[in-house]
Symmetry: C2
Subunit: 733 residues, 2 copies
Amino acid sequence: MAPQALGRDDAAGAGRLTLPIQTGMDAQVRELMERLGADAVRNSDGTELPELVHELAAKVYSTYFVGRGDNAWADAHPDEATRIFLSSDRVVATDESPLAIDLTASWFAEQVRPDVTCDTARWWQAYDRTVGEPLSPAAWRLEEDGHTVTVLEPQAGHAYTVSYLATQTWDPTQMYNYLTNGWDQDPTRVKEKPFDVRHEATWAHVRAHLDGWLRDHPEVDVVRFTTFFYHFTLVYGPDAKERFVDWFGYSASVSVPALEAFEAEYGYRLTPEDFVDAGYYNSPFRVPTRAFRDWISFQHRFVTSRVRELTDAVHAAGKEAMMFLGDNWIGTEPYGEHFADAGLDAVVGSVGSGATCRMIADIPHVRYTEGRFLPYFFPDVFHPDGDPVAEANESWLQARRAIVRSPLDRIGYGGYLSLAVEHPDFIDRVEEIVAQFRSLHTCSGGQRPLAAPFKVAVISSWGRLRSWMTHMVAHALWYRQTYSYIGVLEALSGLPLEVSFLSFDDLREGVPSDVAVLINAGGTGTAFSGGREWDDPALVEAVNAFIARGGGFIGVGAPSDHPRDGVTFQLADALGVDRETGWGLSTNRPLEVQPDHFITADLTASFDDGEGTPDVVVTGHRTQVLDAADGQVRLAASHFGAGRTVYATGLPYNADNSRLLHRAIFWAAGAESDFERWAAVDPRVEVATYPGGQLLAFNNTLEPVTTQVHTPRGPRTIHLEAGGQQWLLGDDA
Amino acid sequence: MAPQALGRDDAAGAGRLTLPIQTGMDAQVRELMERLGADAVRNSDGTELPELVHELAAKVYSTYFVGRGDNAWADAHPDEATRIFLSSDRVVATDESPLAIDLTASWFAEQVRPDVTCDTARWWQAYDRTVGEPLSPAAWRLEEDGHTVTVLEPQAGHAYTVSYLATQTWDPTQMYNYLTNGWDQDPTRVKEKPFDVRHEATWAHVRAHLDGWLRDHPEVDVVRFTTFFYHFTLVYGPDAKERFVDWFGYSASVSVPALEAFEAEYGYRLTPEDFVDAGYYNSPFRVPTRAFRDWISFQHRFVTSRVRELTDAVHAAGKEAMMFLGDNWIGTEPYGEHFADAGLDAVVGSVGSGATCRMIADIPHVRYTEGRFLPYFFPDVFHPDGDPVAEANESWLQARRAIVRSPLDRIGYGGYLSLAVEHPDFIDRVEEIVAQFRSLHTCSGGQRPLAAPFKVAVISSWGRLRSWMTHMVAHALWYRQTYSYIGVLEALSGLPLEVSFLSFDDLREGVPSDVAVLINAGGTGTAFSGGREWDDPALVEAVNAFIARGGGFIGVGAPSDHPRDGVTFQLADALGVDRETGWGLSTNRPLEVQPDHFITADLTASFDDGEGTPDVVVTGHRTQVLDAADGQVRLAASHFGAGRTVYATGLPYNADNSRLLHRAIFWAAGAESDFERWAAVDPRVEVATYPGGQLLAFNNTLEPVTTQVHTPRGPRTIHLEAGGQQWLLGDDA
């Protein structure tokens, strides 16, 4: 049975695959494209498309850089270089003598330099951080070296910073590639300077350049924009290593004309502090300010409107316009309200996990999406001792469960094909992955699998704008402080559920009627748990009332954490737990664990809460504690009015926790009796059922698994190889 | 050498010891008193002094209860029973219908009951906790059952509480003793009702009763008040088990006359919320409000003035007045500014650790202090399978290092001697302990040992008022959330340093010139780390400036933690570390550990930070990281201006950590070169040197230790038995 089903995958045909190609290996390119069934080819940053592309029966993608790659233009128009708001380090005055602050002590001189040409009294701010107020421009002086500011009469014991507009002299992604690949050894490479299309001269140049390029490249079918105008915030330190990275950062989207246009439109003036944000630079972990939200909206409209002019030109040339989700993507906001206006045909993004896969696959208003899989064919993995197969397996097994629920239309790879072919075992593995991927489209009949008859909503300050994007710092990288929360998204990305993203503002207007369960996951004070948003009785009232009327709520970490009026979690009453910060140690809170519960029924090992959240206690004797350690709650369930709540101290992604979340959602929704059909008995295996009656079972691990799945004809035992999948079609199902 | 030195301890003579005695064991009492050299005897709660006391050549202590033990009076004056402010549980309205709140759902009906006789519109408050405001008295109704309040028109989704004045009908300590000892089986026992001397009739009665009692008890030399008027907050739940305990709590010090007198004096009215404090009841972990500080001051003056009338009577009767530090001690405030007015001769307290020992021994304005050692002779330890020797060892070894630094004048035991004599090994051990204790007085020549030539100050919201009392919930009990901070006090209690306690208000006025090192230890938001006190640039400025001018600062846990203006620790600049709450994850903070440092030179194992403090990062490259784990700082040292700072994520008490703190203090004070003479090489052994040239080395563990100590004639190797001590006198030293 199993081999037969797997055989169908292999027969699923060709297409849906993009390969990077390069000059000097034509025969290998032909052979690989045939073997893997690739129907599109691309170049990468630093490679050229070979002449061969004219002969291949494949679509041709070409990377296209809008705001860099023309140093002649950049050098001729230094005033139109992109800018960034930066802050100096904090410097404390140890006495009352004039205090010199080196603005560039922590930044990379080759990438950024203070913009001394602007009106520094307006676009620079010296700040007394101890008091929390800016100094008057008369209270500081810029020295002649161009990078030292002297606070003339500091107060001893106060910390000072200087926020300043800086000029960017190196595109961060090109800088990363340059430094990572040792291009300083290659005399053909230059350090590409970014320029800003907010300036009309540069914009006219960019428009004209694209028109010429489109004329000159008839072989190109798809213009792969990498990307548009503003890079996410990535600034190196004096050691030429990463110092600050925020994949969502708008700090480098600024310019004097834009700031002035903003003031004209919004009626108020933004200051450096609105961007520097006391040194946090409006990290998405910060509950966003009104000014920052306004700036995002302002630039989103600007960026999408200018992108539209580019995509119109691409379409007029008979080509498709594809956007790479990353690099200079700031302002595009794929989940923003003006994204449709950009006129893009497709989005391609790097798949690092199930959640990032959904982040790409769920983007609306494009005809297709493509996932660029890991590993990237770069020397950091593709060296003689590297193990690209392990990375490919990890990436595919994490991504597949997301692709099953929300199918990407295409997959692809990037980098240097010349490196990949040195690892034949890797090519073999790619062949298998591509076959499994194609079967999701062919065997499903083009349909999405069924999902539970209710919606789940992840709530945060960001709501829909950051769909599948919560808790990210750099794109999909692991952080100790985030994995225990991002595990919630990762689990959701592959569960048979319809997931939406709501902001606290949305909740204040009332929870949408099709949402059965709200999920709030994150650390104290962050935009993801909500922080100071919960200092609002109307929000607490709205959520409490939703639950009391029969809604479900799941909190992970520090949900609604904002100490006030007797509780730390503002939803402590509903959750049945609270975080004990010390103020309530005088209250004895007995802890009785109830080990058997619907929610924990499939745990195969003790509950793993990742970094956990310390000091969680029950608020009353009605809380069902499902797991505890060291006198602290780790997992709890409560009834609240007609509704139900579940709390976990952390939920890193693993098979057990994904199953636990799946069960918790069904319990919170009061839908336990409907659960069985949505899951295999073994949590390592997941199932998808389709409107046409097909059933797909897939093994998320690298061990073979035998387990039972639920079919309309009753339970079926199936065996899946390591990483394998099996379709039960028609009578099989 | 060693046996000879130990022999001197044995020869130290008799005295300084109080034993509990009881009727029916005269011969054993005589024999024990002779053997142990006891010079005082006492009874306990529930035991009578035997006739024998008239013959003994010993001082006689008798327990005396001021505010309980006379149920006839209590029953005749129910209006003068003590009161307490309590809160109901939080109850959430799930719809808009009238909401019934049972005031007593979480409290023990035999101990407290709502006072429906008072003006409930004034002394009760229904509270909307979601909004954070009280309801008007017209918005709620007390039902006829006397314990249900109905909120007439609640808002769905809001949480409500009722704060109310309640009558106390059982003295908490007597209740504890009663329930612990099963006195419900003893028909001679009654449940003692407390009465309040704030009422003039009760006060006159209490005065007269003492006069009569003094006349009737010529055999008594020392009136051991146990204690005075107001019990610390200890309330049981409906299960007759502890529900709330705060050894510093003033909730049960209230009465309508006192509240009215307060209003008359202070010019503002206190409300139930001023005591209920959203359910935290002004726990000492809360940064105290002005109202609570005023109430403490108000009651401190009242209590000490009324105690003075009692002590005057005692003195007039030719006896001494001793106060037990505990039970009904609220308002006495041994470190308060009016304590001297109470006219006490002595304080006795239970010794649970070095810090509690110092808490007793350092009390000013008394002629002598006495430590009641553990274990208390109660059946919970003194049963056939109990191990009282282990408890005695633990208590003594922890306490001795504190007693060495600040000698208690006397030690004693409490409970039932009849139980203790069933454990001869325990009596043997007591004999050894008493000999070691006496030697601290005899061999020292009555002098205190030398201390470093600079002061160390522990800073918190409480300052001097809570000297040696920080982080306590119930007297000296272990709490998971506190041991990592209380370890700092415990270490200090036995180090050769002069320790003071300063409040943030003190610091605002300037750090005293003899203080070289400030220590701030505690969890986020607590009065011990300072919480919202740090929302004050003047405080930050004062401490930064102190350090910059050459001061030392040691932070443990979450020092100055109050997220604001770019840092979580307001002293992050000086400390060189900060707590990363998520907002700064975008900033890359490399972590290089410097394993060899003066501070860590004596660690015998890896650094133990107890519960630790997660997410601590360096603020710059000048921070010396001495220990790290999982990418997080655990121990760091920094230079700041002319001063130095040390940071540790936690510091539970053990020999290594005590030594580490000792070294950290010397490093922060810039006094490394003076360190050697203050410590033995092995951290398990400590040394005390005296003005007369004597040197005491003592072994804090139950293993024999051979180590080197520093003497004026050079290093000396000594061998100490388990728990042993050795005096080097005159030429020996």
